[in-house]
């Protein structure tokens, strides 16, 4: 079922999610939460949006409901539907309705992927009314106190953005996220994978180079997520070069020539062996 996409996060049970701030996003988010304002996160894929929301939900001590949006997502998938059980019709809340009732944080990941007729249910929730209208029950629900609407989208997509009503967008607090500065991104990679700082530096230098490529060669750039994946492969014993090809180059393009070019770029930046260290890396490690 569609609702599989929604899950209750138990972050508060298992320690605080690791998140390194990149600016004032935490202050703004927490203030918006206190004021009951919905938040809109913009940023490229894999820059830490999901991690950020998890960290904030934990900080606020609120349950988190995450819905990954896609263009087959219907309003009923969000709000709920009648099911037939043992001869009775039973109403089953969707993830959005649950969050509204229970005062949870509801995170709609990649909201622009959802169609306009789906996102329309968000409108009265996003303004001062904080109400969810459930058409099939003919009922309006007032959001419980802790309820907070958080949506994200990747401005790199040509999107249905135009369909998110301007009036709705203006009721949201916008937070721009982007990739971290090199030194911080290196720390994140080390933390997430346990590889050496020198190796993390090599991966970040590689990503820095890829992020300079124009969008005709690669549309997406190497995200923090792909770097973390490469790092984890390395931590699991894969040769660094192979790990970078598998986690960074291959996912970026299906063009054989582009993948070859990216592999050359990897050869330039990533050492063949885990032990090989050069220049700055050795220096930083001894420090």
């Amino acid at each position: 079922m569609k609702t599989e996409a929604a899950k209750w996060a138990n972050a508060h049970l298992s320690g605080s999610p690791y998140y390194v701030a990149n600016g004032s996003e935490e202050t703004i988010f927490l203030a918006a939460a206190t004021q009951g304002l919905p938040v809109m996160l913009k940023g490229p894929t894999g820059c830490g949006k999901t991690r950020f929301v998890e960290a904030m939900a934990h900080r606020l001590g609120r349950p988190l409901v995450t819905v990954a949006c896609h263009d087959d997502l219907t309003a009923a998938d969000l709000v709920g539907r009648h099911l037939l059980k043992g001869g009775e019709t039973v109403w089953v809340d969707g993830p959005l309705t649950r969050a509204v009732r229970e005062g949870a944080m509801c995170y709609l990941d990649e909201v622009v992927e959802a169609r306009q007729d789906t996102t329309v249910v968000l409108h009265p929730l996003a303004d001062h009314r904080r109400e969810l209208y459930i058409e099939r029950l003919g009922l309006s629900l007032r959001a419980a106190d802790g309820f907070m609407l958080v949506v994200s989208y990747n401005p790199g997509y040509q999107s249905v953005l135009k369909d998110l009503k301007d009036s709705t967008r203006q009721r949201m607090v916008g937070i721009d996220l982007n990739y971290l500065p090199a030194a911080v991104e290196e720390q994140v990679i080390v933390h997430e994978s346990g590889i050496s700082l020198g190796m993390a530096q090599a991966l970040v230098a590689l990503a820095t180079a890829i992020r300079r490529l124009d969008s005709d060669t690669v549309r997406e750039v190497a995200s923090t997520r792909t770097l973390v994946s490469a790092a984890r492969l390395i931590a699991a014993g894969v040769a660094p070069r192979d790990a970078a090809v598998a986690a960074v180059a291959v996912p970026l393009s299906d063009e054989v020539s582009t993948v070859e070019g990216l592999s050359e770029l990897i050869d330039v930046f990533v050492p063949m062996e885990s032990a090989a260290r050069s220049g700055r890396s050795a220096e930083h490690l001894s420090a």
């Binding site: 037939l84 306009q116 997509y157 249905v160 490529l213 220049g279 220096e283």
Partner: protein, 594 residues
């Protein structure tokens, strides 16, 4: 006989035309472009390696080193006119400067530090903190270690000429990206000085415009190219100061740069005066755009028409409508589903009766609705150039068959509930690409639509790229559906003054690729066209296209053709995947169900 052509996957959306490439160095171009921050070619040469700001010429066995050294210098503002002027005339000074800049750019602690070992920076080279300081030190007498000979040389004279002629934009910075932004800024009528500057820069970008025009304009207007490029806005996360001429900023562009360059790609410059639009054109030889190269004018349809003399066609084609609907382009309520938004009452009752009578009840009691068509906008772009006047084997002229096909497609799309528009185009040189409305997006279907199609008079040439860019712009600006589709009906012979052969094909291909980058699916229909398959592949690239001899064959291939086109417009798909979503229905068309 159905002929659906399978576009091979080799159509590469890259800065260079595939047929021009020196394959030996293809893999190095990604490295060069990444370090330079813009599209750079790599080619072989005899003698010492060097760059003209556009291509890095390499020799010998240390290609990787040469690509890194010259790519870094291009990408970090080392090869700007101010620096080069001071080095001109002295190969020794230029060589010392090469050493100092390479050393500075991969200084320990910086993001390129690990390149030191790869390129083999000699020990004991002083670290300068700006390009200016490096020039001073290069021309001063101080002792420096020798520059590794395998790095090659800087050729200040060559680079300066290229900059002056506008062949290269200051040979520095992320010129390509910056220009895309600035092209966007040209649209802003707010600040005049910036505009003028941006226009001049844009002018000097195109290789052929560059032949003195940029220089002449600058002189006439008493302007000097600014040494520094003002960074637009503050630094965002992910940027680093690398240091350059007077402490300029070399940007490390994060993912958000994509959006910007998408906007700039193809240079959709909005009308300076109403009804006229400027678009860039792709020059495959130089591997760059000629900014604001073509002018597209929206002209009233009457001006292209002939008097109404014959009975008009209705365009209504029930067969095609049905086939399109079958292709899943229709809103459907699916009953008796295991999952759905609503209960299907009949199924529920049946279920209850079964349960009460002891039979095992069918659990499929839901109704699911998938309103697809509400999410689709479609623009049909009809080629009305004179080449269509050739007689068609199917009777009448090629153009007669094409307009008939275009109208049927338009009518069918309209009938299944898509938002539709149709435009006709022809050209007479790059300053006169004419586009006329057959049906606007906001216009309801009426008899005048088929009438207008019927009245169209073929004539003029085919500047296909500009027409496609304009159509893509209309789709992007006037519709807000999740799926967008551009249907090009043409004989597949792009031709205009200064727009022929490979050049025209590459630009057309490029324009289609740009549209797909904007999540606009592209379908190209070559109806009754005498063009050989090989040339169609060249023009339509990896877009879904079909060459069909007549209307009935078009009906047969339409569902699959459109599904492929739509798939490439799926906003969830990345371009890298889409590039390969070429139409491969050759076999299916022969043995398929329709």
């Amino acid at each position: 006989m159905t002929r659906v052509i399978s576009a091979p996957l080799r159509c590469r959306i890259s800065a260079t035309a595939p047929e021009e490439k020196d394959d030996r160095f293809a893999r190095h171009e990604v490295v060069a472009s990444a370090l330079a921050g813009r599209s750079i070619r790599v080619a072989g040469c005899d003698g010492a390696a060097y760059t003209d700001g556009h291509t890095i010429f390499v020799s010998g066995s240390r290609v990787r080193t040469q690509v890194i050294v010259h790519g870094l210098l291009i990408g970090h503002g080392s090869l700007v006119a101010e620096a080069l002027t001071g080095l001109k005339g002295s190969p020794a000074h230029a060589s010392r400067y090469l050493l100092l800049e390479a050393n500075r750019l991969c200084a320990p602690g910086g993001v390129w530090a690990r390149l030191r070992d790869t390129i083999g920076v000699p020990p004991n080279v002083p670290v300068c903190d700006s390009t200016r300081q490096a020039v001073d030190l290069a021309v001063a007498g101080d002792r420096l270690p020798p520059t590794p000979t395998e790095w090659g040389v800087i050729r200040p004279g060559l680079l300066l000429r290229a900059i002056e002629d506008g062949l290269v934009l200051d040979a520095g910075g992320s010129a390509a990206r910056r220009t895309s932004v600035e092209e966007g800024e040209v649209l802003d009528p707010g600040d005049g000085s910036e505009n003028l500057d941006a226009i001049l820069r844009a002018l000097s970008l195109g290789p052929l415009t560059g032949l003195g025009l940029g220089r002449m304009l600058r002189k006439r207007l008493g302007l000097r190219r600014r040494a520094t490029k003002s960074p637009s806005g503050g630094m965002s996360a992910g940027e680093q100061i690398v240091g350059g001429w007077s402490g300029q900023i070399a940007r490390r562009v994060g993912g958000s740069g994509l959006e910007v360059s998408l906007r700039g790609r193809g240079g959709a410059a909005v009308a300076p005066e109403s009804g006229r639009f400027r678009y860039a054109e792709w020059d495959r030889v130089s591997g760059s755009y000629r900014p604001r190269w073509c002018t597209v004018a929206e002209v009233p349809s009457e001006s292209l028409n002939r008097p109404l003399d014959e009975p008009t066609m209705s365009g209504r084609d029930l067969v095609m409508r049905r086939r399109l609907a079958k292709a899943g382009l229709k809103s459907q309520t699916l009953l008796r589903q295991a999952i759905g938004d609503d209960l299907d009452l009949d199924a529920v009752i049946r279920n209850q009766i079964d349960a009460a009578s002891g039979a095992s009840p069918d659990e499929k009691v839901y109704a699911a609705t998938r309103p697809r068509q509400r999410d689709l906008s479609c623009l049909v772009l009809l080629d009305i150039s004179g080449s269509g006047r050739d007689p068609s084997p199917a009777g009448g002229s090629v153009f007669d068959r094409q307009r008939e096909g275009a109208l049927c497609v338009l009518d069918s799309l309209n009938a299944i509930g898509a938002r539709t528009a149709a435009y006709a185009f022809r050209s007479a040189g790059r300053h006169s690409v004419q586009v006329s409305t057959i049906k606007g997006f906001n216009e309801a279907w009426s008899n005048s639509v088929p009438q207008r199609v019927h009245q169209l008079q073929p004539g003029g040439y085919t500047r296909l790229g500009a027409a496609i860019r304009h159509a893509a712009r209309l789709l992007a600006a006037e519709t807000a559906t999740a799926r967008k589709l551009l249907v090009v009906v043409s004989d597949g012979f792009p031709y205009d003054t200064g727009y022929e052969g490979e050049y025209a094909a590459a630009d057309s291909r490029r324009a289609l690729a740009e549209a797909r980058h904007q999540s606009i699916g592209c379908v190209c229909i070559a109806l009754a066209s005498p063009a050989p398959d090989s040339s169609l592949v060249n023009v339509f690239g990896s877009a879904a296209y079909a060459r069909v001899p007549d209307l009935s064959t078009l009906r047969a291939v339409v569902p699959r053709l459109f599904l492929h086109g739509l798939r490439t417009s799926d906003p969830r798909l990345r371009v890298s995947q889409r590039r390969d979503a070429a139409l491969r229905v050759g076999q299916a068309a022969r043995g398929g169900p329709w």
